[in-house]
């Protein structure tokens, strides 16, 4: 994300799910030029790790050339907790559905923004196992 104009705003939202020994890397650059005073940026990058052997990395890069800008970076990584699945099982929901609910909840913010045509493909990918 490169800011040039005055009082500009931007949001970066990245979510990743790692499965089957995969490695996920998030790299981003936020550059704020000298001319773009009083601009804002918010970067959020969350990762969900399902397997024991898969991993997730985040390498953010921030370059700011004026004193009046506001830049924020937030990141966390999480896994599906056993308590969460136990809770959903206790309410009569089967294990496959319970996992799907938690995964769907994790990436809901992004799924809502994508066009409807993609929804079938996403469902197939999440349900694959």
């Amino acid at each position: 994300m490169i800011h040039i104009g005055k009082k500009t705003k931007s949001i970066i939202l990245a979510k990743s799910i790692s499965k089957d020994n995969s490695k996920n890397t998030h790299r981003s650059i936020v550059k704020i030029c000298k001319s773009s005073k009083k601009s804002k940026n918010f970067t959020q990058c969350n990762s969900l790790i399902i397997d024991k052997n898969s991993s997730a990395y985040t390498i953010p890069c921030i370059k700011s050339k004026n004193k009046y800008s506001y830049i924020e970076h937030e990141t966390y990584s999480s896994y599906i907790k056993k308590e969460q699945i136990f809770f959903l099982l206790q309410r009569g929901i089967n294990k496959k559905n319970a996992k799907y609910m938690i995964l769907n909840g994790f990436c809901k913010k992004i799924l809502n923004m994508l066009p409807i045509e993609h929804s079938l493909e996403i469902e197939y990918n999440l349900f694959k196992d």
């Binding site: 308590e83 809770f87 206790q90 559905n97 909840g105």
Partner: protein, 253 residues
Amino acid sequence: MYILNIKNLNVKIKKKKIINNLNLKIKKKEIHILMGPNGSGKSTLSLVIAGNKKYKITKGSILYNNIKINKISTEKRAKKGIFISFQNSIEIHGLNNEFFLQQSLNSIRKYNKKKKLNIIEIRKKIYKIIKKLNFNKNFLYRSLNEGFSGGEKKKNDILQILLLKPNMIILDEIDSGLDIKNLKLIFKIINKFKKKKKSFLIITHNPKIINNLNIDFIHIINKGKIIKSSNKNISKIIEKKGYEKFIKKKYKN
């Protein structure tokens, strides 16, 4: 006819014994209270009844409606009508509260061979219950338990009970975090449910609950064993002197 019958239960977690030879019998239409000092195995007992795989049953059996449920999965136990409200309600990010209630209700109805309800029918049901509980409608569209206050989480558990209508209900510290008005409301609901042939096992530290509920038995548990079972009268002694009196007696013998 017992709805829940626990015989000589022994439970282990990683070589540490938590429950020793525990016996407990609950009939239909009864409210039982379980009390005891911290770390005596109250919450563990509730999780074992729900079927958490972390805890291993080394000896004894749990009978539900005269059927042994030692090896039945958590999901099936829930469908048969066992409901547990956890001490710390679990938060799930992004899971719509209403969607969760729909899924839960429909899967339980399917198991009991009832007709599947559509979204509008369920929503009508939920709105009725919300009115009873003085809830704001907005909370249905928030994530499950995320950002709820302590009292709201407990009220959400009560909402699930009213919707799912289970037969055996285990409440773990339902009174913590609730204000007086809501607490009275919940006592009212529990007393009403008792008349509908539902049974309760309530885990609590607060002896004041006993005066407000129509209670049949009080059990005191220590080190994984029930050391005293009695009726309502025992509550005054607990309120004045705590559990020590019963625990010391056991050691002297």
